[in-house]
């Protein structure tokens, strides 16, 4: 019984953190945001050198062959630094989908390029999560049509993975789709609207049950989004504690006032158990099938709630400064807020957890 990170995992996270500290400073984030740049080439290059895009891809295809917990730790670090690189779609959802449901030929043709960072993949699962302004994505032979909203990691993507109304998964070359970038409060990640008009597609067909493949991919996405929020919220807590220990008002550092101290304590008390929830959900994804789905839902929903709480309280601890652009605190605030809405809002995801447990 060892509910803790391995030495390798600690080393992995430390390595990524050090890299981010160097190459993803607030100044860099700020500049990327000003330019609507969500794929910082230098940073993405360095992460690629570490093998990050291939984290979940089998060694047979040039990846590192790690598990979802490792991917979650990376997501936590990326969230902690509000990193302006593709990850959740291109390096988690797409590789998992192709490995779960792709033919050997499809694996051969896509995975090595994804692992090496040569290509990135945008991912559109809106059909499965709850459609808003979508037009149903349908397939006919090897063509897909329709409009998918809120595809992830779309900027400069070479290929798109898209779910159809029948829960099929298709790969469409970027040239065959029309991309309209959507701009959200979070300027550190890219989302977009994809329109397909009889676009030639490569269908992932080897899956026995496409519905459960899709569900499994979504589970992974939810855990990793939760991990991203965990990292971002942890950074906001750390910044609040630092600020409360430095800023003076009424001849005292404000952290000595109970009102401020208790806000920090409440953030920590809410957030700390979330780490264990994310770890467990990520571990369960690979190792404890009977808990995988329900803990993925809870990780996503609970981190969304706690994340919003921490984002707000940290801003309040910073007072007026937290509301300005000067400290850049809002980049974390907004990333947490986007994460909340991605891959299912808390109410939606909890409802799914109820279904999984047979409550409805």
């Amino acid at each position: 019984m060892d509910f803790a990170l391995s030495e390798e995992q600690q080393f992995l996270q430390q390595t990524v953190n050090e890299l981010l500290q160097d190459q993803c400073s607030l100044d860099i984030v700020r500049q990327d945001a000003a330019e609507n740049e969500t794929k910082n080439q230098a940073l993405y290059g360095s992460l690629t050198e570490l093998g990050i895009p291939g984290t979940l891809i089998s060694e047979d295809y040039g990846g590192v062959g790690l598990r979802l917990l490792d991917a979650a730790l990376i997501a936590e670090s990326l969230g902690g630094s509000v990193a302006t690189v593709p990850y959740i779609g291109s390096s988690v959802l797409a590789p998992l989908a192709i490995q779960l449901a792709g033919s050997d030929e499809q694996k051969d043709s896509w995975l090595p390029k994804l692992a090496s960072g040569e290509i990135t993949c945008g991912v559109a699962l809106g059909e499965h999560i709850g459609a808003r302004d979508n037009t149903p994505i349908t397939s006919e032979g090897s063509k897909v049509s329709g409009r998918a909203m809120f595809a992830l990691d779309v900027q400069d993507a070479d290929v798109f993975l898209v779910a159809t109304v029948d829960d099929e998964l298709h790969l469409v070359e970027a040239n065959d789709a029309e991309l309209n970038r959507l701009f959200t409060i979070d300027k550190t990640r890219s989302v977009g609207e994809l329109t397909f008009d009889h676009a030639p597609s490569d269908s992932l067909e080897s899956s026995i049950d496409s519905t459960s493949t899709l569900a499994k991919v979504v589970d992974a996405g939810r855990v990793v989004v939760a991990a991203d929020t965990l990292g971002a919220a942890q950074s906001m807590l750390a910044k609040a504690v630092d600020y409360a220990g430095e800023r003076q008002q009424f001849n005292r550092v404000i952290g000595s006032f109970q009102a401020v101290k208790h806000m920090c304590a409440e953030m920590a008390a809410e957030l700390e158990p979330c780490r264990s929830l994310v770890w467990y959900a990520a571990h369960a994804y690979d190792a404890i099938p009977e808990d995988a789905r329900i803990t993925a839902c809870h990780a996503k929903a609970h981190l969304a709630e706690v994340g919003r709480f921490v984002a707000r309280k940290s801003t309040e601890v910073h007072g007026g400064m937290g509301f300005t652009d000067l400290l850049g605190l809002h980049y974390w605030f907004k990333r947490i807020e986007l994460n909340r809405q991605l891959l299912g809002t808390p109410e939606f995801v909890r409802n799914e957890a109820a279904k999984v447990q047979g409550w409805i």
């Binding site: 709850g130 309209n180 609207e193 006032f257 401020v260 309040e316 007072g319 809405q341 809002t345 109410e347």
Partner: protein, 405 residues
């Protein structure tokens, strides 16, 4: 308990409605901010100023300001004030203003006769607009610790230092400002209240971008800015007490229950119209129950506002019902924005004039702006201190007067 208006007020309301019907084509658009001189040409009053003048003539603006300073000289009547606000809002017509609702009452109460004649008439005519120089980077909640200095040199104060959170500083003609004139006095007794033109040499305004991405606030830097000594309101060292008068007037504007009711209606509409997988959000019982909880809070605040209005009309101190408005009202607004975003899901995160954005990104903007309002004008924590100490009579924290090392 009688929620009908007496015939005096019904008549007043009808007159006002007729006035609006006949004249609203003259209104320069429903902008809440008082018009400034800079909006007009130099050849005479601009449309906003002409509109303001018309409202003053009819008693719909600057109502209680004495005639000798350009106002209507009516007795204060909170109910009429309320009716005016209500009818202008209903007709979506730009309301009048009273110059600056912080500065003008302060000058009228504490200024010299000369100052009143200098400052009040152009302010209420919209020819002199104001910004407030209180907060500093080092003094937010502890406003009295401000360190911008004004030293006497001949007939002038010479100002050096920095202000922050100065909304409208880029447009304003004038600033009312707190400066430290007696550095050796206890902190509350060393402050003076000055008024001066924003064109004074040595003043630099830099926009302050907030998390919303807008620059509605500014930083203002002073480098040897010279202000004549007679531009002080009140006596040297009494600025803190003058300023408290201003703060009192400012606080009353926040947490307006009408705004909350309008927001609530907007969310209701949103939840009827927006769908997930084809079903209106309103059909989702979890979202609906959350909306209902907000409705309960909104109604309580709305009726609380009616209670405050009644007290004011009777010249009674409203007490707790007023003390809690800023804290509860700002929180309610923030919760409503959060609810709207959650109802919109991913669509609720769109911004920067993105395609598919709803209501111009208003909810996202409000969600952040409201958090700013929870913090600004006395943080929620300071509000709770005030409610605890002033309304409930609990003792203050023991003072720590040791200077930090």
């Amino acid at each position: 308990m009688d929620l009908e208006y007496s015939s005096e007020y019904e008549d007043f309301r009808n007159e006002l409605r007729n006035f609006l019907e006949e004249n609203k084509h003259l209104s320069p658009g429903a902008i809440a901010r008082p018009p400034t001189n800079r909006e007009g040409s130099e050849d005479g009053p601009n449309p906003a100023q002409r509109w303001q003048q018309l409202l003053i003539e009819h008693g719909y603006a600057a109502r209680t300001i004495p005639k000798e300073y350009g106002g209507c000289g009516e007795a204060p009547d909170p109910l009429k004030t309320h009716i005016i606000a209500e009818e202008f809002a209903k007709a979506r017509v730009r309301p009048g203003h009273s110059g600056d609702n912080r500065l003008v009452p302060t000058v009228l109460e504490l200024g010299t006769e000369e100052q009143k004649r200098w400052l009040v008439p152009p302010s209420i005519r919209g020819e002199m607009s104001w910004c407030q120089g209180y907060s500093e980077p080092g003094s937010g909640s502890d406003l009295a610790s401000l360190s911008t200095r004004a030293e006497v040199d001949g007939d002038d104060f010479v100002i050096n230092g920095q202000k922050i959170w100065t909304s409208g500083a880029q447009h304003a003609d004038m600033m009312f400002c707190l400066v430290r004139t007696e550095p050796d006095a206890p902190k509350h007794q060393g402050i003076s209240y000055l008024v001066f033109s924003m064109d004074t040499p040595g003043i630099e305004v830099r926009p302050l971008v907030t998390m919303t991405g807008d620059a509605t606030f500014n930083e203002v830097f002073f480098t040897d800015a010279r202000v004549p000594k007679n531009q002080i309101i009140g006596k040297r060292g009494e600025g803190w007490f003058v300023a408290n008068n201003t703060l009192k007037h400012e606080r009353e504007g926040l947490g307006d229950p009408h705004q909350a009711e309008n927001r609530f209606r907007e969310i209701e509409e949103l939840m009827r119209n927006e769908t997930v997988d084809g079903d209106p959000i309103m059909d989702n019982p979890t979202h609906r129950d959350r909306l209902l909880q907000l409705q309960g809070r909104m109604l309580a605040m709305k009726y609380n506002g009616m209670r405050v209005l009644t007290s004011q009309r009777k010249h009674e101190e409203p007490g707790l019902p007023r003390w809690i408005i800023k804290l509860q009202g700002c929180e309610l607004n923030h919760q409503m924005a959060a609810m709207a975003i959650d109802a919109l899901g991913e669509l609720g995160t769109l911004y920067h004039r993105s395609d598919h954005m709803r209501a111009g990104g208003m909810w996202q903007q409000r969600f952040m702006m409201d958090l700013g309002l929870i913090i600004g004008g006395g943080t929620a924590q300071i509000q709770k201190n005030m409610i605890g100490e002033r309304a409930l009579g609990l003792p203050k924290e023991p003072k720590v007067e040791v200077k930090p090392t």
